[in-house]
Subunit: 472 residues, 2 copies
């Protein structure tokens, strides 16, 4: 059985690839103030495209105070009675540094061995453009979409979505929908058809320690004054015990152990530990008494993402550093309140700050709770059926260790659930040099999106009623 919409979409595969290349070329690194122009370039590319496709209501959304990187909104609401989906993607990307670790330029999409390399190719520019291309195929061939669609393309996902709660709050009526379908989130593995039904939350902040008014000569003063690097090493090493357990009082409050049902479902998931670790060049390491999947999906973390101080350049400089710095993030699981969990870590750090050092906690970012979509949600059922229809395999339901701030925030703000339907894959080195997207994600993704949109078009708004909880 051929599908004229899919046929049309597949004829446009080359155009889709060049569209991804054009969007990757916009250096939309939200964390880097020097690349503000790249953020604006990405927005203009997307807005022009949505205009060309015939969307209405195209606008930029910010919190009421106008702060932050605006999200792009557009809508196509011509399927009366059918559900309304809020389709999510993000146009911002991770910093590409270190640039010299890339085998091809970070912002020039480069095809090698069936892979498309470039910053944002996988997270989330490629998957977002697959979704847009699937929607446009309906508009091109049928002149309308099978479901009502609202698009929300965010610009702060990689910096913890600080403005998203404000955007959702200020534009709750505009964004009202039956469910969210996310083009972000990532498939777990290339070798397994799966649906990701939950994600960890996150919180983060920076710390600085000061031990003196200036750097001091390590000969002249060494042994008689505190060293900020010693203090930082001691402070950071106090977060875990020698075996990798988090030893922060109160941090694990509310975290439940997996139920026998969850434990059974997880044990049934095909998982080759050796194959998982080999490409990472590392070994299993983590909280004793838990499996790798437990550690990734059901257990929270406190991680140091950056740490620096003193002389970090070439050669020797015999200083006692008077300041040291670190960046921390926590990954949170269901049961943890992000604010309380973060405050537990901060209280631990204050209590453990070594004598002679002053602690400053700053740059708090990205407070997001963990999230799980209800097992029987109609959009999840449709997504599962669409994947089975287009791949021939029944998708396994899995969780992800990473964070989609949107999921928890949208549930709080709009009272609806989110199904993740991205065609990136978790091994694609997003957040690292040489990020890539498998080229096969383009036709696979188009087929699945088109099938899913048709299925949801046959559902009714009322099917979603039991899952709409209203705003918090």
């Amino acid at each position: 059985m051929t599908d004229s919409v899919l046929d049309h979409a597949l004829l446009g595969l080359d155009r889709l690839q060049s569209d991804i290349a054009a969007l990757v070329a916009a250096e939309s690194v939200g964390a880097d103030p020097a690349r503000a122009d790249g953020m604006e370039a990405a927005r203009l590319l997307l807005e022009n495209r949505l205009k060309g496709a015939g969307y209405s209501g195209i606008t930029r959304l910010t919190p009421a105070d106008g702060s932050g990187q605006p999200a792009i909104y557009a809508e196509q609401l011509d399927a009366p009675g059918a559900p309304t989906l809020l389709i999510y993607g993000h146009y911002d990307v991770q910093p590409p540094e270190p640039l010299d670790a890339w085998d091809s330029p970070a912002f020039a999409l480069t095809e090698r061995d069936g892979r498309l390399y470039g910053r944002g190719a996988s997270d989330d520019k490629g998957p977002m453009l697959i979704a847009l291309a699937a929607l446009e195929a309906f508009l091109d061939v049928e002149g309308r979409l099978p479901v009502n669609v609202k698009l929300l393309l965010e610009g702060e996902e990689e910096t913890g979505s600080p403005s998203l709660p404000g955007i959702l709050d200020s534009h709750a009526e505009l964004l009202a929908a039956d469910a969210v379908l996310s083009a972000d989130g990532g498939r777990w593995r290339a070798d397994l058809v799966s649906l990701t039904t939950g994600s960890r939350g996150s919180a983060g902040f920076d710390i600085s320690l000061t031990t003196a008014g200036k750097d001091l000569h390590s000969g002249r003063y060494g042994g008689a004054v505190p060293n900020a690097l010693h203090a930082m090493a001691r402070l950071l090493s106090s977060l875990h015990d020698a075996e990798g357990r988090i030893v922060v009082a109160g941090f694990l409050d509310g975290v439940a152990l997996p139920t026998p049902e969850e434990a059974g479902a997880m044990a049934a998931i095909p998982f080759d530990e050796a194959a998982f670790f080999a490409p990472l060049g590392t070994v299993p390491y983590g909280e004793p008494g838990f499996s790798t999947l437990d550690r990734l999906w059901m257990r929270p973390t406190v991680e140091v993402n950056g740490m620096w101080g003193g002389h970090t350049g070439a050669g020797s400089k015999t200083v006692i550093a008077h300041q040291a710095h670190a960046k921390l993030t926590m990954r949170l699981v269901p049961g943890q309140d992000p604010k309380r969990a973060m405050e537990a870590v901060q209280a631990h750090l204050r209590a453990m700050t070594p004598a002679g050092a002053q602690l400053r906690i700053h740059s708090v970012r990205g407070l997001s709770a963990a999230y799980a979509v209800p097992d029987a949600h109609p959009l999840l059922a449709a997504a599962s059926a669409a994947l089975e229809a287009t791949t021939g395999q029944h998708p396994v339901r899995v969780r992800m260790g990473a964070t989609l701030p949107l999921t928890g925030q949208i549930h709080d703000a709009l009272g609806i659930d989110t199904v993740m339907f991205s065609f990136s894959t978790s091994d694609e080195d997003y957040h690292a040099p040489n990020e890539f997207l498998r080229k096969s994600a383009l036709p696979d993704g188009l087929a699945a999106w088109i099938d899913l949109l048709r299925r949801v078009g046959k559902q009714k708004t009322r099917d979603y009623g039991p899952y709409r909880t209203g705003r918090k």
Copy 2:
């Protein structure tokens, strides 16, 4: 009683200051390959000056293999029967970074409030040029020097003097002398006339930890893989206990506690702890059971001088770093063998490397033993008398916490002792931004050097015989 040589020297004070400015302008940062031109510029300035003053035998000294930054040698040997002094200084300086922490340009000598600011002004370009100016005043006024002089101006002091043993070994006959008089080393305090009779040794190396083949996403993998920053924090914090004691097995082997005589002499030294710490913006911190002076002069250290890994730039990047790095130095005291002490630290680090991490130890540098000049040494006696004559105060004998690699190395290589006679002061922020030299050091230093050279001119080579031990 006027001294025509001193009068002449003091008339040249402005020229001395402009000579210091010219040498500071040469960016002779030996640790920075990008500033190799600055090293050569400094050498050319000094060589031209020595030629103009009439020295003979001007040459560049390297180890037999020609490696490293050459030292400059010159001699003036026209005082038969008088002792021969090997006068030491160094023309290389510490890196000036961070440049934005300087109140005036690092390489432009700038006078403010009686101080001369600039990289190398205090360590060691200013004090070295004071010595050269004192010698030139004798040559100008009397046509000869009162003692036989050999000059050795090193270019690797700030990088641990890696070539110095080879230079001493290859040119032992050329450098043969009765004692070394060093224009490096620093006065302890501006408010106390003192002679520094001992220095700590040093050793240093870098370490790198690797935990994976690449940086990994902290959400996607967090909790199930090792984090190089956690491993580094744990490893570095294992070097000391929570109270600041070094807990490295074997490191303290051979270290003697101060004798009652030494303890008594140290207790008699006027030392205002509050006044010592206040300008540093820090508090006393170190090994329990020892005073600040004990900690600085009689106890060894293991210090981290730099530590880095992961995302250290602006904003957030949620990576698990796969590598972390640190730079370490040890300060050593009499009784410690530098190689054995360093190897004890390395063995500790290997033993304590956390599971999941690979340790690499590299960039070993600057193995120097601690040193103390014998109490009754004739050059020390002359130096003490010169300071008393020119200041009216009897100099207190003190030690220094920092390292002069020359002292131990020259004792091993040439069998002679070193007396430090620098007119820098230890609070002058060498090895930090805003290094300065007190302008009063110029006339004070000229007076003391001229007085000392006259006194040694009245001594005989045979007075030094008991202290010449021969080459090791």
